[in-house]
Symmetry: C3
Subunit: 435 residues, 3 copies
């Protein structure tokens, strides 16, 4: 493993403690830290603020939420739970409260995950104003009758929703998009991992020479942030976007997952599936299992070629949306795997084209030093990949198609293409994948 996985892990740890939500300063702080992390590139995220009340398609930008403190105190003045200990203890978007109640009344405002009695669940109430507290089922059951002080110092006020993008220009205006979301409090895999890997990919793309594609990186609060972004950009994206990936839960090391586009028929699906087919323990989820911003990018009428990419998919692992989704769940190895898949996908997308062999019948590889000159049973397996590539380099298949047919990973096809190009044996059709 290169040290990249470790770098991403460390950066994830640094943004983990921040209390993010749909709106508010947690989002802004996280974006500022990402800018710091990518400062070596000389690039900066563009940051946008959309005022409360703005209409975005079928939705309205909500009030901005600020939380300063939150706890439950018992009669002895002991804090049963405290937002300072874990920001999951306060229901997301809680309105303020400052009231002494008895246990029965208190319990009406406590959320737990009864089937996982030892974790604090992550609960929000974005679109109806209420307040609430979250704790483990065990803790809730241990509460003794008595008086309790419910205290939340928060504010829901007109403000704005924050999102960010960054575009790195390539030779073509056609775009590849990588996006993730920033709206969850302290959870490691289902929040911090996505922005962290995205930040590392900004560095990677910026360092690429002769970029064919323009790369668009987008970070927004999930759902309403993506809807906001699309309300401004969907016409542009429909014209330019070749393929996009939503990063989510990319920090653990248990599996690789793709969430297909609506009909699983885009080049984003084909490319990422091809790459994953050469990695172990891969889960292929249909669009019916969607859950992150691929929902908006694939909505009818939007119809963008975007898939989701996870290690363990959101909703499918036990720690999801609980306090157990912490820095122990993710690992440098997990991040490295995600980074490797994404960079392999990017390199494959960059070289992807419809190649065509330039001679009729098989070329004579031997005279170009590309074939063994002695023929004996078993001796020519080494050039099998090359001859198979040539056999299907008929101008009808892109590199993913050929890779799928001949069973060779694109990363191993790339050097073959380079040798054949040098020998003048193949040409590109120079396909515009948006045609």
């Amino acid at each position: 493993m290169s040290k990249t996985g470790q770098d991403i892990y460390s950066f994830t740890a640094s943004i983990f403690p921040i209390c993010r939500s749909l709106t508010g300063n947690g989002v802004r702080e996280t974006l500022a830290m990402i800018n710091e992390y990518i400062s070596e590139t000389g690039l900066n995220l563009n940051i946008y603020e959309i005022p409360t009340g703005t209409q975005v398609f079928d939705w309205t930008i909500p009030k901005e939420w600020e939380i300063r403190a939150g706890y439950i105190e018992d009669e002895n003045g002991d804090k049963i739970i405290d937002f300072l200990d874990n920001n999951l203890h306060i229901l997301g978007y809680s309105t303020p409260i400052d009231r002494w109640v008895d246990l029965e009344e208190l319990k009406k405002n406590i959320y737990t995950q009864p089937e996982q009695p030892d974790v604090i669940p992550y609960v929000t109430s974005y679109y109806r104003e209420r307040y609430g507290f979250c704790m483990s089922e065990i803790q809730k059951n241990s509460l003794r009758p008595g008086k309790y002080h419910m205290y939340i110092d928060s504010e829901l006020r007109d403000g704005s929703l924050t999102y960010a993008d960054l575009v790195i220009q390539g030779k073509s205006d056609q775009e590849i998009m990588i996006t993730s979301y920033i709206c969850h409090p302290s959870m490691a895999n289902n929040e911090c991992s996505g922005p962290a890997v995205l930040a590392e990919l900004i560095k990677y793309v910026n360092a690429m020479e002769n970029r064919r594609y323009t790369y668009r990186f987008v970070l927004n609060p999930e759902t309403i942030g993506a809807i906001t972004y699309l309300s401004k950009k969907y016409q542009h994206l429909k014209e330019k976007l070749v393929a996009g990936v939503v990063l989510s839960c990319v920090g653990d090391d248990r599996a690789y997952s793709i969430i297909e586009s609506r009909y699983a028929d885009t080049i984003a699906d084909k490319g990422l599936k091809n790459i994953l087919s050469h990695h172990g323990n891969v889960y292929n989820y249909s669009y019916l299992s969607r859950g992150s911003d691929e929902r908006q990018y694939n909505a009818p009428g939007i119809d963008l070629p975007v898939v989701g990419f996870c290690r363990s998919k959101y909703g499918e692992y036990n720690e999801y949306h609980t306090s157990a989704d912490n820095m122990d769940l993710v690992s440098p190895e997990g991040f490295q795997g995600s980074y490797d898949v994404m960079t392999e996908w990017i390199r494959a997308m960059e070289i992807n084209d419809y190649y065509k062999v330039t001679v009729l019948c098989e070329p004579q590889l031997g005279k170009r030093g590309l074939y063994p000159t002695i023929s004996q049973k078993g001796s020519y397996n080494e050039v099998k990949a090359m001859t198979d590539f040539i056999a299907y380099a008929d101008g009808k298949n892109d590199v993913f198609d050929i890779s799928n047919i001949i069973g060779i990973p694109v990363k191993d096809i790339i050097p073959i293409i380079e040798k054949l190009f040098e020998a003048g044996l193949v040409e590109k059709r120079l396909v515009n994948f948006k045609d």
Copy 2:
């Protein structure tokens, strides 16, 4: 179970004793009883008579068969078998005979089903004139040497072939056809069940408000009757028919079966398969297993979108075409199941269209009271069907397609469509399925 299954069962019992054949008064009596059964609707079957000798495509209307009596008598004057006991005892379309013969000669004219030794087989000779008797293998083997009197009082004379139809107009001239056959003597599942369920469906369709489609009900002797009907109506049906179902063997409760159209590619196939996919014990038969009038509707050049529907498929159950196919084989439960599938199919056909969501990105269901306002792991499964419907309501899928993709029965999608319509969130494309 509603009482409908019981009603159909009772009506089946009432038409069971009649001796039907390709032609003759058995057909006419059955049609008259159906008119009586549907009299509450104020509707009447149109009844047609086509004279013997008329050319219908490659076929000629045969002579009309009348049978008044038939038996085998032994030397003691005891009737070994008698048409009055069971009309299966006489070979269908038997010519008259009145002759004393010895046992050896008698046996040449006896038909049995040796592998089912205790049943009377159903045997006919429509297109070559002969006479014959049917009995169980056991009975045949028990006959003692001696003289026997073969007696059939029947007539083959110029007359006519009888069939019937009934059209219930809807808002559109596009048609849905439901057909069955009337040409078998006393067999319950493979004869009486089809006309009986069809009669009940006439009542159902007549009671439907705002019928979208025009419904055509057709009853004819199998094969030549369907050919006759098509020789008069196929141009009309090619222009108007959206989907049709041939009902056969719809009275037992052991299975559900579909016989696919020639290429299994019509909306009749798609619709009925979708409905059946949510019932148990379903058998999918390809067109190679055809056997009833779907043969004519699907013939090359006719090419109508018609499938067969059975409970236990003709030819696949042991009692088929024997005296064991009697009122013990069918049941109110069996009829109710067939009736439920057919009415579910009709309702699905009526609502079927290409729906399209009216907003870009996901609609905000919460503000319309269609979504829970609190978000916690596991809490939103209840609206999964609705969001999945919306995800594929892109104007490219009909309701059966969406049902197949999202795995929800159409009957559960209907209320979703109604809610979304009310909320202005979907629109119909108003597809003409004959385009």
Copy 3:
């Protein structure tokens, strides 16, 4: 088994001893013997000579190789190996050598197949000049230290490459091609079997009356011979070739194999797969397993509808490219099977067309004596194939399609077509399969 399998076996035995190579008199002798074998037809192969140095697409015709003698002699004058005993002992295309060396030096020029220690491997060096000797691993290991005399009396000189074709005209100019290769020394299955079956098929085709297609038989050294042939004929073949088969390894009796065309979508694939589906132990190899001249016929830009046909496929059986591929490996039964498949395929190709029933609805088979006149459960299976053929004779399916749908071998459909034609119940669309 007819005596044809025995005839082919005997002819194979007669050409087995000849030392063929890419070029040279071995090829010419073999072609002369084939002309002798088919002399009863009055036909002769056309024989072509292409000079050394001629450019054929990406390749150059090599020098012609002549070998007169070759052996290794020990200090006692005993010949360790001798070309006269087995022509596999000399590396194909060896340059001359006449030198005494010690064991260590000798071994550098010895080729064995270590994992099959008791066979002489078949090794060549066509495109780089070197010399060498082949023997079993066991023999090599038994050599004692000492002096050895390496002796090869051979010549690589400007000459020519030899190939042959023969065209038997049919009513149409559209062509069916059967080809094999002649360039291997004494190996029975992977060399002699192909030309021998091809020669027998020349007799068969010549004897066919009313040939629909023109048949092209081609024999050439593998790879460069096919490339040479295509450099002269590919435009003609692209215009005329309906289907072609490369025969290779068609003499053993262990399996049947097809090597699919590049996309497995040609009528050659469809036809041969259909025929084989009614034989036992069939292996279906994708184009990724190609190895003989189907590589050239299917190359991008050539794109001809050609498949490979083998019994045990080259490269897949243990004796392949060794001295164990001898006359014990092949058998009259093996040849008969190949011959039967190929002649069945030819007959099927000849009758293949898009048939259409001439009447609407099912025809009345009974009045034409094509259907039993008595109907009883189980009595009509005998005409099932005929009614199924009619059901799909809608002008959209060729005979292979119908055979695949209804599961009846084409050879059993041919008499059905003949009866229906006679009865005027079907017509041909007279399809030009090159359209």
